[in-house]
Amino acid sequence: MLSNIGISLVVLISILSLMIIYTASFDLKISRPVIKKSIYKLSLFQTTFTVLCFFTLIIGFINSDFSIINVYENSHTSKPFFYKIAGTWGNHEGSLLLWINILVIFSYLFLVFNHTHDKKFRLYTLICQNILILGFLFFLLLNSNPFNSIHPIPIEGLGLNPILQDPALAIHPPLLYVGFVGCSIYFSAAIASLLSSYSGKLFAQSIKIWVKISWCFQTLGIIVGSFWAYYELGWGGFWFWDPVENASLLPWFAITALMHSLIVLEKRNALYPWVIILCLLTFILSVTGTFLVRSGILNSVHTFASDPARGVYILLFLSFMILSALTIFFLKHKKETYNFNLKSKETFILANNWFMIFFLVTVLIGMLYPIFLDVLTNVKISVGPPFFNIVIIPLVVPLMFLMAIGPKFSWIKSQKKILYKILFPILGAVVINLFIYYFFGKYSLLSNLIFISALFLVLYTLLDIKKFINEKIKTGLPRIISHLGFGLLVFFIGINYQFSFEEDFNLKVGEIKKMNKYEINFEAIKIKESKNYKAVIGNFKLTNFKNDLVQYLNPEIRVYSNPETLTYEAAIKTKITSDLYLTMSNVSRSDYYNIKFQNKPFMIWIWISALMIALGGFVQLTLKKNEN
């Protein structure tokens, strides 16, 4: 029954989308400056039914309605309530329905909140967005329908994958999708702007809030995903330059560049073609990322199970999107005369874009090169963390210097004042860096530069904060929070990388491993039977020689029965100053266990600074009414 309701709703939404496109195209030709009321109604109906459709699927999961194949494959009666709901979007078909929901909701909100803007512009946006919606609806109906039913109805579901039953992993997709899919609306708006020859400044104003919203959620989504990887995957790392991670990073670079360029477009009415290109690029990157990850063309730890037909469809859709966007851009863009003041904020924003695009291209090349090489020459290579780290990290140094100086540049009138402002943070940064270098350990020139530039950004921004507290202005506060967060993030990642301690060794029960600063005593193995798994728990006594502190760590190896999975649960002890990380896996056909022990300084500060970056964005959303 639910299955039928679901499918009918999907068909209904498709019809509504077609009707919207038809009515809107008609209304374009009418000279009245107001959009026909019926279009608003159609859009509202479309939104209502789409949300209802999603709820239908959720209800299917809550009720464990196994007549729906999707519920059967991805849920189980003994799954906790929260994870039953999260199971809705934790699979390919369900997540596709979530994509469509976001596309539709944003389409409606954009229509409704922009009534001060030009009618043609809004109608074209609506049409373009609905073409995208239709594309995804067809994909859903033809290939990835979450409402397909199965007979006879199975008694129990298959989906009790323990790895998916985690709070971070549950909210990670919706957060990320608001980012990924949210950029569809300014893709459509960009096309609309080209087709209706809309003014750059007004265009910037219409999409500003959407860019900021998608940026905030994309940032948060990436952080949550990284957080989950650290706690759950058991390797002590938080970023692996894995294709799925890279796929979420590509749009992030583009949205960041766009967010900064919009400032220039709005204030000076310059860079319009470039902003259009960024708007188009962002959603194209989102869909490309989806293609790379879900088609099976790339090899990754956290891909969904792949089906070749999926890849074909997404590729066709992507091709259509790129080629039409490109055609429209070439046909409709006009040359722009630039009037830049070199020593102004605009140049720094251009520099920001320059770096963002560089990082974007690097990650993109790193992801795509193996595919191209394989197709063209049949040689298979791997491009992994070393490539990305070597190419990207050195350029973060100049970026941070520019991030500090850039935002306030137009306000500094005299040369002397500039030097004065920079002198104190630079000196402070160099001194602190030398302090760390001499007292805690030597490191390479590059690391020195990373620390100095990060500290410079932090100190400079802190000075800014002092100024704001004194003068009580609120504008610029979001930017300060985000930039400060970025500086701190790079600083703490640097510290963590330089001063992390790692050991990989094999131990039997009863054995002791002595290291320079620590001693680990493998005291015992205990077996625990839990509701749906059996765990082998290791009792490890950790002694810190420096302060004679004794701690107990209990990593686990879990064997789940339904489905049969093996997971390794790391023992993590988090303190303000460092994290202790211990994982254990057993060596096949042996009494030995392979132990990985890590001491990671300031790990929690990495999360705090990353969240700070996102916080800046959210603060700006709440300030939107007051800022000029």
């Binding site: 088609s295 090899n299 590729l315 080629l323 490109l326 191209f372 394989d374 197709v375």
Partner: protein, 174 residues
Amino acid sequence: MKINILKIIIFSFVIFFLCVFWVGLKKTKNYDTKTLIGSRISNFQLTEINNVDQYISEEDLKKNKFTLINFFASWCAPCRAEHKYLLNLSSKGKKIKIIGINFKDKKNNAINFLKELGNPYNFVGMDLKGKFSILFGIYGIPESILIDNNLIIIKKFVGPIDQTHYNEILKLIQ
């Protein structure tokens, strides 16, 4: 005019990219070390499973027209499945000799395994820690390498040898 050429270039690039993706979709994702075929095996020295004074090196393999180097273990289920093909091959006499390398196993378990299923090997070597497997570019058990008398790798079999593989080998050793 210049702008138009630029547009055509960009368009062609995009279409090129999309075509590569298209072809990329069809390719196999699983990696197999086919790159080794045509290269010579490394020098090695393996002790016999029963007798530490007896050993074999790559020099000894030059005497054979063809040698099949087979990595196996008593704890490996697919190894049991392929064993009968190995026995058949061992009866082909002068054309092909089979060397067995016992991988990460206990000596007694391996000997019992061979007692139970039959011994197709001219020589059974011990690879207690598995390090020899890396020397031969092995990454799973069972895996077999077919070489000629110049120690050049002709074929690699990842996974158990089945009927098709067996026929292939027969053809190759003619």
